[in-house]
């Protein structure tokens, strides 16, 4: 019998040399006259161990990593095809503590399933949610989503069920389901990992949404920075057969604009226009893509739904804390030793994530600051590391969880420099519609430069400018850029050298 070997085709694994490892394994097997089956799975999310090679054995999958091509002959010699002992052997994958301590729901198959095989997806429980949804009335599907407590995972954490109900209740001959896979936040990669590692889960979630709201056409808007994810989705769609019934999905590729992750700018972009934010109302749920009622959700929101229908809303709602129900795939990034994908129920502390999972900084120096929730998220000092990972607990300290990206910095970070970058990023990416965002951000860069040059009087000006941006911007790009800026100023005043009033 051929042994199955898994070498991730995930972009992070590729960036760390997985293709060369796959080639080395195929060649070494051929040289030894051994027939193997090579599967390019997604990543298990233990990025520091990539390329992580797994071998299917009667004891389950055995992991080896990080594997370099030069180690491949040695692995064969050590009998890794039967799970043999080797310095790189990590034991059964599922028992690696970092993974075993997680509770994976939405990402349960990422890194496990063959992303190119619908049959494998179904063999691992995929398709059950859609099968159930087909036997339910649309209102019942919406009720299940509402009862699960699922909130949008794109950043604003709006209850998914309410949005689904609005689209369902708006009568129109044509409606759309749009998946926001723009994932522009630095420090986030869960959308990418799911597209590359378990694309059928997303397709299933969107098809269920189509049944619930009465739409037969879906779009997935993926950022152009993710060509591997685009290819994985195209391959999955090509192999979908009649899995989606009469629901059709088209992939649309962005073009390097952060603000196109904002839902109305995204719709403009699909329509073939510049990605400029629309004024609301009307809500996309009422008049969205091509003027029709449109359900737009983040990718993780959609991908959470198959499991909610298959396991029941209660099973999902029973996890989490406070009003944050279920799990969130957190992403540990930046200067962190054990970075990657950590899916756990809401309610752990940030400190547990940073140290128990992350193992502290990659550099070995003390962690000094953490930015949570992307470029519009707050910089948190050590003193706030005990904050619970829950939407309300973060809101209470003027921060947000956003899409679950956590970027760690060691004590070499200069927070005045990070604040400057936040303003600069806003200036680069502003869609240009509002003056406080477009002009204010450029002024912000200048003011911070003067503060860093020693002019402490400019701090009051910076605070005023932030107030104007917060109040006078149409979308979160302009209104939330002050969050990283002011949190840096508040918690790391010593980095703004001029603070000497």
């Amino acid at each position: 019998m051929r042994t199955t070997i898994f070498v991730p085709g995930d972009a992070a694994a590729l960036a760390l040399g997985a293709d060369a490892v796959a080639t080395a394994i195929s060649e070494e097997a051929a040289r030894r006259g051994i027939a193997i089956k090579l599967v390019r799975n997604g990543s298990r999310g233990m990025v520091w161990l990539e390329p992580l090679v797994e071998v299917a054995t009667p004891r389950g999958r055995i992991a080896y990593g990080p594997v370099a091509p030069a180690e491949v002959p040695g692995l064969f010699a050590a009998g890794f095809l039967t799970g043999g002992v080797h310095a790189l052997c990590l034991g059964p994958t599922e028992e690696i503590p970092w993974l075993a301590r997680q509770q994976r729901l939405v990402c349960r198959r990422v890194g496990v399933v063959d992303p190119r095989s619908l049959a494998d997806y179904v063999a691992r429980g995929g398709g059950e949610g859609l099968r159930r949804a087909r036997a339910m009335a649309p209102a019942e599907i919406v009720r299940a989503v509402t009862e699960s407590g699922l909130r949008g995972r794109g950043g604003a954490a709006f209850p998914a069920g309410i949005k689904w109900q609005t689209v369902r209740a708006t009568a129109a001959p044509q409606k759309y389901v749009v998946c926001n896979a723009d994932e522009g936040d630095s420090g986030t990669f869960s959308d990418r990992m799911l597209m590359e590692g378990d694309p059928y889960c997303l397709l299933e979630g969107m098809a269920i949404a189509g049944l619930a709201v009465g739409a037969a056409q879906g779009y997935i808007y993926v950022r152009s920075e993710y060509p591997h994810a685009v290819a994985a989705l195209e391959a999955a769609l090509a192999g979908a057969g009649d899995f989606l019934g009469n629901f059709t999905i088209e992939v649309r590729v962005g073009a390097g604009s952060y603000v196109c992750g904002e839902e109305t700018a995204l719709l403009e972009s699909i329509e073939g226009k510049r990605g400029i934010v629309r004024a609301k109302p009307p809500l996309p749920a009422v008049a969205g893509l091509f003027g029709q009622p449109t359900l737009i959700n983040n990718l993780i929101t959609f991908a959470s739904v198959p499991d909610i229908l298959a396991q029941g809303a209660a099973a999902y709602r029973d996890l989490g804390c406070g009003r944050s129900r279920g799990t969130l795939p957190f992403q540990l990034a930046g200067n962190i030793k054990h970075g990657g994908l950590v899916e756990v129920p809401f309610g752990l502390s940030l400190r547990e994530l940073l140290y128990d999972f992350g193992g502290g900084s990659r550099s070995g120096r003390p962690l000094r600051a953490v930015q949570v929730g992307g470029p519009l998220g707050a910089y948190l000092p050590e003193a706030q590391f005990d904050t619970l990972l829950d939407y309300e607990a973060f809101a209470a300290i003027g921060a947000g969880l956003g899409h679950g990206g956590i970027v760690a910095f060691d004590d070499t970070v200069d927070l005045a420099g990070q604040a400057r970058y936040a303003m600069k990023f806003c200036a680069i990416e502003s869609c240009g519609k509002c003056t406080p965002c477009r002009i204010g951000s450029t002024r912000g860069v200048e003011v911070i430069d003067r503060i860093r040059a020693g002019d402490g009087r400019q701090i009051a000006l910076l605070e005023e400018l932030c107030e104007t941006m917060t109040q006078g911007s149409l979308c979160a790009m302009g209104s939330m850029t002050p969050i990283p800026v002011l949190s840096a100023l508040r918690h790391f005043a010593e980095d703004f050298g001029g603070k000497c009033e």
């Binding site: 972009a11 520091w48 522009g184 630095s186 420090g187 152009s224 073009a255 930046g334 970027v407 990070q418």
Partner: protein
């Protein structure tokens, strides 16, 4: 195929799709390396838009270029998670190293490789993680000797 024939072919392929402009522009840039100025009038005509509108879309998006790039395109991630592990120094080094090299350097704001930064993308699809200054030099040297 002549560049004008490629343009005409791509326009025919995409013109009937709803929201055809971005897919069309992507296909052109993939085929020609950029969106040449002479492509704008036929695109505008096919989609019933003004030339100014088409031009406005091309120039709005950072991904689209109107002139051909160098022999290779190197994108260095300049976003926060890469900054946390030396991304700025890497970008600065790349600027110095690639000046006058005939290789195009572009900033990119996150490649989704934030747990193994700093990250670099070469020619759209080749990815590199934990890129040190030395690794970048080797990578550039390989690009230069290959072309």
């Amino acid at each position: 195929m002549e560049s004008s024939a490629i343009v005409a072919h791509i326009i025919e392929q995409h013109r009937v799709r709803p929201g055809a402009l971005l897919p069309m522009l992507h296909a052109m840039q993939d085929a020609l390396g950029c969106i040449p100025p002479e492509a704008v009038p036929p695109i505008a005509q096919a989609l019933n838009l003004s030339r100014a509108e088409v031009h406005g879309v091309i120039s709005y998006y950072a991904h689209f270029r109107q002139t051909p790039p160098g022999r290779h395109v190197v994108r260095v991630c300049c976003a926060e998670a890469c900054q946390a592990v030396g991304g700025e120094a890497l970008a600065e080094h790349a600027r110095e190293r690639l000046a006058g090299s005939g290789i195009t350097l572009e900033p990119v704001y996150c490649l989704g490789l934030c747990a193994c930064g700093p990250s670099v993308q070469v020619d759209e699809t080749t990815l590199h993680a934990r890129v040190t200054l030395e690794k970048l030099d080797a990578l550039i040297a390989a690009l230069e000797s290959a072309s």
